[in-house]
């Protein structure tokens, strides 16, 4: 049987590899997406004091340490049955919103943008951030860099460090912000709102204004009807830092909304022996393998998912963008009643809407009268036991679950990490891409690459989180081998 190995350059890092098997007729028999790395946080966090977890679990992922820092701090609060002062929560959420601004900006311009702005068929050499800047103008590049820089500055102001923040502890924060810092953060927030709107403008002009792109977004190859997951506030508006987890069926039915602590009633993780990464799925629906539809427990947790589960956005400008999003892509509601977008490429658009929300929310928080209050810590009085902490990481719902002894030393740990949620959908997208492009053993090389990488990129996969090893984004390389397994051609490009 012939075998095609799509082998990321990051193979060097032992990160992710795709094996496509063809049947004797040269049709795709199966495609496997392997995550060949594990670090074992669930094991070695046992024995550590719970107050260390927010900094220890930072190291799960250097791309989104803020998410782990927050989920961990919330789990630690729960372990001690302590409710941090309002200001502490505001500070955490403010840091977290700033992080969303940087993260979503980076992804859209450096990673997702090239596909649309430069064009999916442009030569790989141009399909990168520089290509984008060439198209939209250098000054935008300056703004992109500024957006990242400013975001990291806010993170450092509140978290102490630009990467791997240090200030969230059980019961609150170790330190607050001054009025000067608050003012600066507010300024950055307002700047970010404009930047987000500007970015949406680019998307409008370059993408929605281009029928070919629109067609591609709506095309079947990039459509999966799966369940969706995301955090919502009491009004079912999306929220990144806090709230209840809501599940939406592919048919627009709200399957349920649960408190994070109940996650085990809803989610289980399936195990395959050929990969180090587990496949989460909806327990109530069950694991049916890598297939979509209402009968398969496969779900997805992305910006798109969060919009799909939410009734709307909690800030005015984002709400407007939200409505426009659905008016454009899903004019009529599903049978279940909620309007849903199943087109995966729309995730890029959804991400920009979240960017706008994050920026607006930053300003809300930075202008809250209590944000500079010195009251940022509640000292725990109860015996530590068990606790769950959940936040929305940019790449999906993130849950930390700790059990401790009476000294607050961990006895067990469970981590359900953002990107992991989308492992199954990603594998599905890959298979779908392969199937649509490989016939009779004939491979449309460049196309295959583009399709696969685009399928990937929209999930903004961060396997640093998932396997506690896969950093950042994932470049791809396709090795095509003849039946003897020899490499006859190598194609490679970056996503």
């Amino acid at each position: 049987m012939e075998r095609i190995t799509i082998d990321p350059v990051t193979r060097l890092e032992g990160h992710g590899k795709i094996e496509i098997f063809l049947d004797p007729d040269g049709e795709v028999a199966n495609a496997y997406f392997q995550i060949p790395e594990l670090r074992g946080f669930e094991r070695f966090c046992v024995g550590r004091p719970v107050e260390e977890m927010p900094t220890l679990t930072n190291r799960i992922c250097g791309v989104c340490p803020e998410a782990h820092h927050m989920a961990s701090a919330k789990a630690a609060d729960a372990v001690y049955h302590v409710d941090p002062p309002r200001t502490a929560k505001l500070l955490r959420e403010l840091l977290y919103s700033a992080f969303y601004v940087t993260d979503h900006t980076t992804h859209f311009y450096a990673l997702g943008g090239p596909d649309f702005i430069v064009g999916p068929d442009a030569p790989p050499a141009e399909r990168n951030i520089l290509g984008v800047l060439a198209k939209v103008g250098m000054e935008v590049g300056g703004q992109v860099i500024q957006a990242r820089k400013q975001g990291h500055n806010v993170i450092e102001m509140i978290g102490g460090r630009k990467i791997h923040p240090a200030t969230a502890v059980p019961g609150g924060m170790t330190h607050g912000i001054t009025e000067e810092q608050r003012a600066e953060i507010e300024r950055i927030g307002r700047w970010s709102i404009e930047f987000a709107q500007f970015s949406l403008g680019i998307f409008d002009k370059m993408v929605l204004g281009n029928d070919a792109y629109k067609e591609m977004i709506l095309s079947d190859g990039y459509t999966h009807r799966t369940y969706y997951m995301g955090l919502v506030d009491p009004n079912n508006k999306g929220n990144f830092y806090d709230g209840r987890v809501s599940i939406m069926s592919p048919d627009g039915e709200r399957v349920g909304t649960y408190a994070p602590a109940e996650y085990r009633d809803w989610i289980a993780e399936h195990v395959e022996p050929w990969t180090y990464l587990k496949f989460p799925y909806l327990k109530k629906v069950g694991w049916k393998g890598l297939v979509d539809g209402a009968d398969s427990g496969v779900y997805c947790a992305t910006p798109l998912s969060r919009l799909n589960v939410a009734e709307g956005m909690a800030t005015p400008l984002a709400q407007a963008a939200y409505e426009r999003f659905y008016d454009t892509l899903a004019p009529k509601p599903e049978s279940g009643g909620k309007r849903l977008v199943h087109h995966r490429l729309a995730t890029h658009w959804a991400r920009l809407i979240e960017l706008l929300y994050a920026a607006e929310h930053m300003v809300e928080l930075a202008t809250d009268p209590e944000i500079t209050s010195p009251n940022i810590r509640t000292v725990p009085t109860e015996k530590p036991t068990e606790g769950v902490g959940t936040v929305e990481a940019p790449r999906g719902t993130l849950t930390h679950h700790y059990w401790t002894d009476e000294r607050g030393v961990l006895t067990a740990v469970n981590l359900l990490v953002g990107t992991t949620n989308n492992y199954a959908p990603m594998a599905m997208s890959i298979k779908k891409a392969a199937q649509s492009l490989i016939h009779k053993g004939v491979v449309v090389h460049q196309g295959l690459l583009n399709r696969v990488e685009m399928a990937f990129r929209l999930y903004d996969p961060c396997f640093g989180c998932a396997t506690h090893s896969f950093p950042g984004e994932m470049p791809l390389q396709v090795a095509i081998r003849n039946s003897d397994g020899e490499v006859i051609e190598v194609l490679s490009q970056n996503c």
Binding site: T5, D7, R11, Q477, A479, G485, V487, V490
Partner: protein, 714 residues
């Protein structure tokens, strides 16, 4: 006979002649380490158990790649031909490191260091490792002992690779000396030094020098009068041009290091101007206030509120006892002031602080007596006619409260029968384990004095009779001949509960006569408790103040109990008399003189070499975390605020290395026992297994197979 029948070839190199390849003569190449190894037979002391020939052979071959150029074994390395082996090899083979495997460094380290130095190599590039005390003498299994010798040698070789040349540290010696304690030991020390022409500060906390000896009447075994022999010494101490006498004073703080100490002395207010006072004593006569004299008269007599402790006191200048002075209590009286012809009374006098610079310190702070109240069954403090030895000294003293009449508490009745109990508080697990050394003789003296003064019957209750020094046992014989009765046994109790005829109104000593082998009840009129000696209550603070160490009892610890009994671990601080343990007068005096001799030696040297085992801070690596600041009991570490780093005064550093181990930044280096040296020695010691073969080691487990081919190609 040497081990395994090998006959060592006298003198000549036996094995491991210059490693081939290595130059046989001449200077080593830059950075090249050339080690000479010398294994000593010590006759059969080592060779009898350790196969020294094999050890030398092994070292010559197995340790060649560790820089061993030559390995020899020789019958007695410490002999001059043995030392010549080393000096010749250094010259002929260009050795730059020496390892001698022989006896303990405490015996011959200097011997071999000096030999090394004679050949022009820095002495600290020589290591002596012990394969005798730590090996041949304590093991019987020859194979195991030989294996251990190889390990020890290997450790020495690795260590010596890391040795660095060291130079002794030189400090100047200030010729002035501080003597603390004005008892007989301190007085002796002070006079010895003063007579030699150097200045002495003699500090005494009481109003007069003289110490306990001044309270005694007669001294054993010669029975000459304590006052008669002590007073002249006190006077010359008080008048000596080279002695600054500081009574009614205490040392509160000491800084610095050998040769360069600074001491702060608190001179308590006497309320009398010493420069004007003639010591006529009229003030005491006129003082209306009588006070029980707890110190000098042991509570048996009275003194005035302004007083000189005793007639022969030096200085004569009295002190006002502020607590009991009517003027200080009520603001009126001033009798002393009225009658003082030289107007020396100064009610407004204040305590003053004096700072002095000295080069050496002698501590002669003496002892306290055991508190007899602690042994309730002997009834002291409860039964009026139970006395302590010190009280008896006062009773029998012609200058004492009873003018030498030995009477009961009522002050009139002479005892008909007296019991003297030895070892009170000494040789007793419940109190002090040690023997107080002087009680036997003092008890015999008491027996004699009772006989002499009253003719009463005297019982001495003893456990063992210890009369070890010159003429002591003769005195014992004499007292026996005088008719004193000796009962061997430790009295269980002293009670006044008489129940047999003849016991009423008496004190009954309940004792098991271990010679007669029966219980006895002996009625007496007076019991004298021969209480033991113990360290002063403030002994531990004193030790800390002067940077010396003391045992858990509180006695100061000598640098070496036999070989250096008057020196301490702290350079420049010496001890004399009972501060280091109970002693009789002759020993105390001898120690005072000995300490003085040590100090005079130092003064004559003018300069002194200190062992270069010192710690030092690398300022570049020091973060100023100040962890080390509390590590040094000698206050050698100080924090330089401006530079934000800690630093160490090399002369004050005693080289213990505690700060080196404490520094989290690894910024403190210790010479002589550096991290590198110790870690290397550990490696060396562990290169050899228990059986003499290389220690077997496994590797950390690794993934079973290399990654599959396509992973590599792609």
């Amino acid at each position: 006979m040497s081990g395994n029948g090998h006959q060592p070839t006298e003198g000549g190199p036996s094995v491991g002649v210059p490693a081939e390849g290595g130059p046989s003569v001449g200077v080593p190449a830059e950075g090249e380490i050339r080690i000479g190894v010398y294994v000593c037979h010590c006759g059969s002391n080592i060779a009898g158990v350790v196969d020294v020939v094999e050890v030398a052979r092994w070292a010559g071959e197995a340790l060649k790649d560790r820089g061993v150029v030559i390995a020899r074994e020789y019958r007695f390395m410490c002999s001059s031909p043995g030392q010549d082996l080393i000096t010749d090899d250094i010259r002929d083979l260009g050795l730059n490191r020496i390892v001698v495997a022989a006896c303990s460094p405490h015996l011959h380290e200097n011997t071999f260091r000096n030999a090394t130095a004679r050949a022009g190599l820095n002495p600290y590039l020589c290591e002596l490792v012990s394969i005798r005390e730590q090996d041949s003498w304590v093991h019987t299994d020859k194979a195991a002992a030989t294996a251990k010798a190889k390990a020890i040698l290997s450790g020495g070789v690795e260590r010596v690779r890391r040795n660095t040349p060291l130079d002794a540290i030189i400090v100047d010696i200030n010729a002035a000396t501080l003597v603390v304690g004005g008892g007989i030991a301190g007085i002796q020390a002070a006079l010895e030094i003063a007579d030699a022409g150097f200045h002495v500060y003699l500090v005494e906390k009481d109003a007069s020098i003289g110490g306990h000896m001044a309270q005694f009447d007669k001294t054993f075994p010669t029975l000459d009068c304590a006052a008669c022999i002590l007073t002249p010494r006190m006077v010359s101490a008080g008048t000596h041009p080279n002695v600054t006498l500081l009574t009614w004073s205490e040392v509160t703080h000491v800084d610095g290091y050998v040769g360069n100490f600074t001491a702060t002395i608190l001179k308590k207010a006497r309320y009398v101007d010493e420069s004007l006072c003639t010591g006529c004593g009229v003030c005491s006569e006129k003082c209306p206030k009588n006070v029980i004299d707890e110190v000098y008269e042991a509570g048996l007599g009275y003194r005035k509120a302004i007083y000189t402790p005793f007639d022969q006191a030096v200085p004569r200048t009295p002190v006002i006892d502020r607590q009991n002075c009517t003027y200080f209590e009520k603001g009126t009286c001033k009798a002393c002031e009225k009658f003082c012809e030289s107007n020396a009374i100064r009610f407004d006098q204040q305590d003053e602080e004096i700072t002095i610079n000295i080069g050496n310190i002698i501590l002669a702070t003496g002892y306290e007596i055991f508190d007899a109240r602690r042994i309730a069954q002997y009834g002291y403090g409860r039964l009026p006619n139970v006395f302590t030895s010190l009280e008896f000294e006062r009773l029998s003293n012609s200058a004492g409260p009873t003018n030498g009449r030995i009477v009961l508490r009522d002050g009139v009745t002479e005892p008909k029968t007296v019991g003297v109990i030895h070892c009170v508080g000494s040789r007793d697990r419940n109190f002090n384990n040690y023997c107080s050394a002087i009680c036997c003789m003092q008890s015999l003296k008491f027996a004699h004095l009772v006989k002499e003064h009253t003719g009463a019957t005297v019982y001495n209750f003893y456990i063992d009779m210890r009369t070890v020094a010159k003429s002591y046992d003769e005195f014992y014989q004499r007292v026996m001949e005088e008719g004193t009765l000796f009962v061997r046994g430790k009295p269980a109790e002293v009670t006044e509960a008489g129940r047999l005829p003849g016991e009423e109104g008496k004190l009954i000593v309940q004792v098991e006569d271990t010679l007669a082998g029966r219980q006895r009840r002996i009625p007496v009129d007076m019991v004298v408790l021969s209480v033991g000696l113990q360290p002063r209550a403030d002994a531990k603070e004193l030790a800390t103040r002067f940077g010396i160490s003391c045992s858990s009892d509180g006695w100061a610890i000598e640098k070496h109990p036999k070989l250096d009994p008057v020196a301490t671990m702290t350079e420049g601080v010496f001890i004399a008399g009972c501060v280091s343990g109970p002693k009789d007068i002759p020993s105390s005096v001898a120690q005072g003189a000995a300490a003085a001799a040590r100090v005079l030696g130092r003064i004559q040297m003018k300069q002194m070499n200190l062992e270069p085992i010192k710690a030092s801070v690398h300022a570049d690596n020091c973060s100023g975390c100040r962890i080390c600041n509390t590590m040094c009991p000698y206050n050698a570490i100080s924090f330089q605020v401006a530079a934000g780093v800690s630093s160490i005064n090399a002369a004050m550093c005693q080289g213990c290395g505690t700060c080196v181990a404490a520094c989290p930044a690894g910024a403190i280096a210790g010479t002589g026992f550096s991290d590198e040296q110790v870690l290397a020695q550990i490696e060396g010691l562990l290169k050899v297994g228990a059986d003499g073969t290389p220690l077997k080691r496994s590797a950390f487990p690794e993934a079973h197979h290399e990654p599959i081919e396509e992973a590599v190609r792609a």
